[in-house]
């Protein structure tokens, strides 16, 4: 960065030319700086400016809940036994007395009832995990709807996306570890999905489980993946994610004095150090309060896993709910190919749709930059309404996700809304195709409506709520003109022109045919920025014409 050249000068200065350290603290700091070069690093970064907005703190919630998960997780590993060896329970929870179970389950029950603070820590760990993934989801949507994923942040968007996916899977593996009836059912679900993969499914299943389901290998293996492999990768990605945030500098909302070349806000030290530090404790406090108030995953009530048992309401944690929905709404198609080989489409198709749903949102930044041809850097955020197609696509994706969540919880919707589970499943089947389309059009119209409203506000001012009676008896509402700052904020966004097909003949008059790709791209670009897809923002001529002379209303 800009201060890199100054790094060596401090350290290489001969000690004799320096002033004597004033006190012990300074001497210590000097000692450390001489060895680590902390001073210049701190000088460059401690005063780094961050803009202030609540939505920029969503990522912080993710970070802090991740820290909480790691801290509580370390505590849990001290007491959890990742073993499927059979044991008979004789602990203090009488309703399980004398029941055969795995050591994994027995140790989870012991953590809940014998270890001091164990149940609270377990609940903090699990609640923090749910909040962590939920916060990542909202954080990603914030980045999406404001266009913060645009150049230069596409790679960081992918890092974030990978963190979300890894969060999904680490959550799932953690959910599977206690070996209670619910987690065993979850593993069984996963096994079924693996078996549905054509040709290699059975081989992968045997390899993963070390034999027939459930075997004795799966819990120790999941434990390693859950506490070591995935968190390790996540930690690396997280550091890279944060370094990139520092390197790119934070995006900011449009406003007076803000440009693509500056960042307006407060310095990290002391303002954000204090704010972020305090916010960490607020996040910890809320999650600890949740854990003290409400049970999560009452493993003692589920009982130990046995392959011959199952409980209804067997759902995954919410973030995997859409995968459950895909399976539940899919018709149970099964075909036989090549003389007796079963192709279980009822499970295999959902298994293929599962990554597609996720990838659809991950690749969007690249699709948008290709369609719009916009390769410039962007540090000023878009208001969602000013990018109607992007906003509508994001809303459609969320609606798809929600439809699938409803599908995943169809049994609870059935019992609590007194509906037939079959009706709900049929509705989800139709909704899977129809709801995102409807949401797209509604959200886009909504954005355009908001753009019109902004235009109206700029040209005619804000409704003041004061009713004026004119001499001839007419009532009008007095509109107050907006301040110069507000006018700037409302009109500073750019309105790109749609791409045009290259001329049909080149400068020498030779016919040039546009390819299918170019044509599609032009069509899509038209869909993004063409007529009717954005409301032309007011020009200064319009503004002057309306505001000059006669009083406006």
């Amino acid at each position: 960065m800009s201060t890199a050249s100054g790094t060596n000068s401090g350290a290489s200065k001969p000690a004799s030319t320096r002033a004597k350290p004033a006190n012990k603290a300074e001497a210590t700091a000097d000692w450390v700086d001489g060895r680590l070069g902390i001073y210049s690093l701190a000088k460059a970064n401690l005063r780094k400016i961050f803009p202030d907005h609540w939505s920029f703190m969503l990522g912080e919630i993710c970070l802090y809940s991740f820290v909480i998960i790691i801290l509580t997780g370390v505590y849990l590993t001290m007491f959890f036994k990742p073993s499927m060896a059979e044991t008979v329970y004789h602990g203090s929870y009488l309703p399980l007395n004398g029941i055969r179970m795995s050591e994994a389950y027995a140790s989870t029950v012991d953590i809940s009832f014998e270890i001091r603070g164990g149940l609270l820590i377990r609940q903090i760990h699990h609640w923090a995990a749910l909040v962590f993934v939920a916060a990542m989801f909202v954080h990603m949507m914030r980045v999406f709807f404001t266009g913060a994923f645009r150049k230069p942040r596409e790679i960081n968007w992918l890092f974030g996306f990978l963190l979300l996916c890894l969060g999904f899977f680490d959550g799932f593996f953690g959910y599977s570890l206690p070996d209670d009836l619910l987690s065993g059912t979850g593993i069984r679900f996963m096994e079924g999905a693996i078996l549905a993969v054509p040709l290699v499914g059975t081989y992968i299943q045997m390899f993963l489980f070390g034999g027939e389901f459930p075997g004795t290998d799966i819990i120790p293996r999941f434990f390693t993946i859950h506490v070591l492999l995935i968190p390790g990768i996540m930690l690396g990605l997280l550091v890279a994610h944060l370094i990139l945030v520092f390197y790119h500098k934070h995006t900011q909302w449009a406003g007076p004095g803000k440009s693509e070349k500056n960042v307006v806000g407060m310095p990290l030290m002391p303002v954000y150090m204090a704010k972020a530090g305090g916010f960490f404790f607020l996040v910890f406090g809320i999650i600890a309060a949740m854990s003290a108030i409400a049970t999560i995953n009452p493993v003692w009530a589920y009982g130990p896993y046995r392959p011959d048992q199952v409980s209804t309401d067997a759902q995954p944690d919410w973030y995997m709910g859409f995968a459950e929905g895909l399976i539940r709404f899919m018709p149970g198609w099964e075909i036989s190919v090549w003389g007796g080989h079963t192709l279980n489409l009822g499970v295999f198709i959902p298994l293929m749709l599962f990554p597609l749903v996720l990838v659809a949102i991950a690749v969007y930044p690249f699709i948008e930059s290709w369609v719009t041809g916009d390769k410039r850097e962007h540090h000023i955020l878009d208001r969602p309404r000013n990018a109607p197609v992007r906003t509508a696509l994001g809303a459609a994706w969320i609606s798809l996700y929600l439809v699938l969540l409803v599908g995943g919880g169809n049994d609870l919707f059935a019992t609590h809304l007194h509906m037939s589970i079959n009706t709900i499943t049929y509705m989800v089947r139709v909704g899977f195709f129809v709801v995102p389309v409807i949401t797209f059009f509604v959200a886009k119209r909504w954005c355009l409506g908001l753009q019109r409203r902004d235009k109206d506000k700029v040209l005619h001012g804000r409704e003041s709520g004061i009713i004026k009676r004119l001499p001839h008896g007419e009532f009008v509402e007095v509109h107050a003109a907006l301040s110069q700052d507000d006018l700037h904020t409302l009109t500073s966004h750019e309105q790109p022109e749609p791409l045009e097909l290259p001329a049909e003949t080149d400068e020498n008059g030779v016919a040039r045919k546009a390819g299918v790709v170019a044509k599609t791209r032009t069509k899509l670009s038209e869909g993004f920025y063409g007529e009717g897809n954005q409301i032309a923002k007011p020009t200064s001529e319009e503004y002057l014409e309306i505001t000059s002379g006669h009083g406006h209303h």
Binding site: A294, T295, D313
Partner: protein, 273 residues
């Protein structure tokens, strides 16, 4: 034997043989004859059946037929037994309010003596499961034995009941609007009768497949689930991860976002350094 053979022509010999034969026959008859049926309360039993028949004619016959033989609107009640009547009527399911996927539990219409009369009448139509006595359905009062019953009952419950009624007996969905009802606040007697008779969509668990003792253990487990405090705090309905997800979004993330807005709104001016 000489003495005996010497007296066989005695004039009283025939009388002695006759007496012995009569005693043997009478003794054998007394030993093997079927015991007489206890007829002590026959009059009150037939009175209950008569009263039950009248109640039946008013409240039940429009669907089940005047003689309980069944019509197109309701099944035959021959052989369902008094346990089925006691369960259906005492939980308010019968008389049914309206046709539908399933007849719901509701306020009871008849009092217990009327229910008993109805049960007596229906039981008289053909033999079937009988209303259980408290020592059949009450789990042990003893703390240690009860805890054992709860533990065993939990295992049985998870094997036989949880797939429809959920691990904590909160109920669950079945196909086409049918459902397994919640077991909260259900009388132990009615749980026993339900297992015995298999009402509506429930399979029946007769004593041949699930002995009385196991039924008691299941009842002990259900009672324990309903009454025991939840160690982890609010149970959120014991409905699994679905409600946990809602709680984490609404209470967890919702509160955190409100706090984030509050923190962002309270800021300071940075001093120039």
């Amino acid at each position: 034997m000489k003495k005996l053979s010497a007296r066989r022509r005695h004039p009283l010999a025939a009388v002695v043989v006759l007496l012995l034969a009569l005693a043997a026959t009478g003794g054998l008859y007394a030993a093997f004859a079927p015991a007489e049926k206890a007829q002590a309360d026959s009059s009150s039993q037939s009175l209950a059946i008569d009263e039950g028949k009248k109640l039946f004619a008013v409240g039940c016959s429009s669907c089940h037929g005047l003689n309980g033989q069944g019509t197109s609107d309701g099944p035959s009640l021959v052989g369902v037994g008094s346990a089925a009547v006691d369960f259906q009527v005492a939980t308010g399911r019968m008389p049914a309010q309206q046709p539908g996927a399933q007849v719901p539990r509701k306020k009871t219409v008849y009092n217990q003596s009327e229910i008993d009369q109805l049960a007596a009448y229906v039981a008289s139509l053909g033999p079937g499961p009988v209303v259980p006595t408290p020592d059949q359905y009450q789990p042990s009062e003893d703390k240690v034995t009860n805890a054992e019953q709860v533990a065993k009952g939990g295992e049985l419950f998870r094997t036989n009941c949880a797939q429809c009624h959920n691990f904590a007996g909160k109920g669950g969905a079945l196909t086409d609007g049918k459902y397994a009802p919640s077991l909260e606040g259900v009388d132990s007697k009615h749980i026993y009768e339900a297992m015995q008779t298999g009402p509506q969509n429930m399979p029946s668990f007769p004593d041949t497949t699930m002995p009385e003792e196991q039924k008691r253990e299941i009842i002990a487990y259900v009672q324990n689930t309903n009454d025991a405090p939840n160690p982890g705090g609010l149970s959120l309905g014991s409905l699994g991860p679905f409600t946990e997800g809602l709680f984490s979004w609404i209470f967890g993330l919702g509160t955190l976002i409100v706090i984030a807005i509050w923190v962002a709104a309270h800021t300071t001016k940075a001093k120039k350094s």
